[in-house]
């Protein structure tokens, strides 16, 4: 393989790695705060993509795609927060302790419901919003403008999210909830309110991802499935609850898929992530950045 092609694979892997990070960040954040896994994350991704498509085709036009991304993220935030209040919150007993199995069932049921609802409303068809930018070149790799926009957009969103968590008061409160749900209440933090915000924010990240990637992966009822699978792979590789781990694991997954395709075969692109996952777990059972939880 020549160096030119190898560099193309590397850049392609880098871009996909960052896009995967955005997807898994939402899942990871919700788990970090609420200690529940939202199995319907792909469907929030899909809803974000559908809203973006509708906005660009019928309301704001393709030149304002970035406004569409913001509106999609906000709309998914509201929907996510409502879902948390109506479906997830009642599963919490004693304010802080969730019945994990109920949340799993509820979010899987929600995923099936939302997927079928999309099928009912949008039909079995595939939609794609207009391009966000013209085809371009990133170093040696010719690529669509959409992919470059999504790459930059994902970096910006991840950066903003990191800044929000680390620097803002609300972010610090989130960190407190993540560290000790019972203890943080003594500081006056309303844990259930932060749960709602966390669920909304996590799903909004997925919605923004769906809106950003809509012209790349197209919009249809199952468009959130593949990013969600990658998202779960990443959080297991990274270790549940670790934000820096997500970035490292996302990039590793992107490179593993791309270089696996280059040196072995593109036919097994879905398997490389799982091989990476098995290798990481065999060395570090709690993931690269995960910590063993104390059990009492």
């Amino acid at each position: 393989m020549d160096l030119h092609l190898f560099s193309q694979f590397l850049i392609s892997g880098l871009i996909m790695g960052v896009l995967y990070c955005l997807m898994s960040m939402g899942i990871n954040f919700i788990y970090g705060i609420m200690k529940v896994i939202n199995w319907s994350m792909g469907e929030f991704f899909m809803i974000g993509a559908f809203i973006q498509y509708l906005l660009l085709e019928s309301f704001i036009g393709s030149e304002y795609w970035y406004i569409g991304v913001i509106i999609s993220a906000c709309a998914v935030f509201v929907l996510g927060a409502l879902v948390q209040v109506i479906l997830i919150k009642p599963m919490f007993v004693g304010i802080i302790e969730a019945k994990m199995e109920y949340v799993t069932i509820i979010t899987i049921a929600l995923a099936i419901f939302l997927r079928n609802l999309a099928l009912l409303i949008g039909g079995p068809y595939i939609y794609t919003p207009p391009d966000y930018a013209k085809p371009t070149q990133l170093l040696t790799l010719p690529l669509s403008g959409n992919r470059l926009v999504a790459f930059i957009g994902a970096l910006v969103l991840l950066g903003l999210f990191y800044f929000f968590i680390k620097k803002s008061w609300t972010g610090k409160a989130f960190q407190g909830v993540a560290q000790n749900r019972a203890g943080v209440q003594t500081s006056g933090v309303n844990v259930l309110r932060y749960d709602m915000l966390a669920f909304g924010l996590g799903t909004a990240l997925a919605g923004a991802g769906g809106a950003l990637m809509a012209p790349i992966f197209s919009v249809h009822p199952l468009c959130g499935l593949a990013p969600t699978i990658r998202g779960f792979e990443i959080i297991v590789i990274a270790g549940l609850g670790s934000i820096p781990g997500i970035l490292v694991a996302g990039l590793l997954l992107g490179f593993a898929e791309s270089l696996g395709s280059a040196f072995i075969s593109p036919s097994f692109v879905d398997i490389y992530g799982f091989i990476l996952l098995v290798i990481v777990l065999s060395i570090k059972p709690y993931g690269m950045f995960g910590k063993a939880e104390r059990t009492v």
């Binding site: 996909m16 079995p124 068809y125 199952l222 593949a226 593109p266 036919s267 692109v269 879905d270």
Partner: protein, 407 residues
């Protein structure tokens, strides 16, 4: 004769004459509503990961077939209406088997049409052999289906070996020497990969084939490798949405349209294709089995304008095929003089039947041609963005009106 008797006779005469006039005015062919309906099943993909857009169009074709049988043929077996029962196979073998079992064992259908995905049809075919109810492959092309020599499988479709040879001949005639194949990891994709490679090597051509997962979203690594190999033609053996993503991403990395792309069936003729790829689909070549305007029988001529009126688009091959298959079953029911599926299967082989584009005659030679009637293959090209099926340019073969020139 008393006054009352005369009045009574006159009254009865008026009633009989009235009834006679009403009967004369009514279409003589309308099925008797009170009779127990004969049920025919449609088992097609209506949800992902199946090609639900094709499933929807097959359903539209099936609905018109039922209308034709009940209103124009007067039903079957002397007036019994025909009823359509629809099941979703979602493009997966497990759903296909469950759907076929439900149609046969719960609904009591006498025949099932609409099989589209090869992997599903191969799985359902095994169950059809056990349950002994005719199963029609309307779009599945794997040779494994008819090679099974199942007495209850019937195929009206261009099968993989024929289509592969047709593509290789076409590419050779267009001066191509290097063929890249990107195929999905199903019986459909892997079957084509094998057969195209076989015929291409026999023709002295070089082949590079890559299989991709059906649910793939990022095909860039695969396409970069193909681009570096510098093919003359790229055969896209995917089913939407992966087939659309492959087209779009091939354009994005500068592979297509510099390298000619052939779609393995007529998905570029759908409006949905243009919605998905925008102007990046211009120039794509695709395999079809008919082009609007080609000769049809009176059945096809009956169906086509009604379909256009109802759905604002020309019927696809698959919608016409399902339409024809249901009418073939109806004719077989009449010839068998029975709604027993086993007798219908025998009747299907015993006599030829009129279809939407000609006569179908199911023979029983050993191997892939078992109960198989092949449709003709043609290569069309979308020379304009959002070009309609009707306006696609016919490229190949020359004897069917193609000009042999790719734009």
């Amino acid at each position: 004769m008393s006054f009352f008797k005369i009045k009574k006779v006159s009254f009865l005469a008026v009633i009989f004459i009235g009834l006679g006039i009403m009967t004369w005015c009514m279409p003589p062919s309308t099925a008797t509503a009170g009779e127990k309906p004969v049920k025919i099943g449609l088992l097609s993909p209506f949800s992902p990961p199946g090609d639900a857009a094709s499933g929807q169009r097959m359903k539209w074709g099936a609905e018109l077939a039922i209308k034709y049988i009940n209103e124009e043929m007067g039903g079957v077996l002397g007036g019994r209406p025909v009823k359509l029962i629809v099941e979703d196979d979602a493009g997966t073998p497990a759903d296909g088997i469950a759907g076929y079992r439900k149609l046969v064992q719960k609904d009591g259908v006498v025949g099932v049409v609409g099989q589209y995905h090869s992997s599903v049809c191969i799985a359902v075919n095994k169950v059809a052999r056990d349950l002994k109810v005719p199963l029609f492959s309307s779009g599945a092309s794997s040779p494994k289906i008819t090679e099974s020599e199942n007495p209850f499988i019937f195929s009206i479709m261009s099968l993989t070996p024929d289509r592969s040879k047709f593509w290789v001949d076409f590419i050779k005639n267009m001066g191509g020497k290097r063929i890249a194949i990107a195929a999905e990891d199903t019986d459909y994709g892997t079957g084509f990969t094998t057969w195209v490679a076989k015929y291409a090597k026999e023709a002295g051509m070089e082949v590079k084939s890559i299989i991709f997962p059906r649910t793939i979203t990022d095909l860039t690594p695969l396409l970069l490798e193909i681009k570096a190999w510098k093919p003359d033609f790229l055969v896209n053996i995917g089913v939407p949405p992966a087939a659309y993503l492959l087209t779009k991403q091939a354009y994005d990395i500068g592979l297509f349209p510099k390298v000619h792309m052939i779609a393995s069936f007529a998905w570029p003729a759908r409006d949905e294709f243009w919605n998905a790829v925008g102007d990046k689909g211009k120039g794509i070549l695709y395999n079809s089995y008919y082009k609007p305007g080609m000769n049809m029988t009176d059945l096809g001529e009956w169906m086509s304008p009604r379909y256009i009126k109802l759905h604002d688009e020309v019927p696809t091959f698959f919608s016409l095929n399902v339409f024809g298959e249901i009418i073939v079953i109806a004719q077989a029911i009449n010839m068998a003089q029975s709604d027993d599926p086993q007798k219908i299967a025998k009747a299907l082989v015993q006599w030829p039947y009129k279809d939407w584009n000609g006569i179908v005659d199911f023979k029983e030679p050993h191997g892939v041609k078992w109960h198989s009637v092949s449709a003709p293959n043609i290569i069309l090209q979308q020379t304009e963005v959002r070009q309609k099926f009707t306006d696609s340019k016919l490229i190949w073969p020359i004897e069917l009106g193609g000009d042999g020139k790719i734009e």
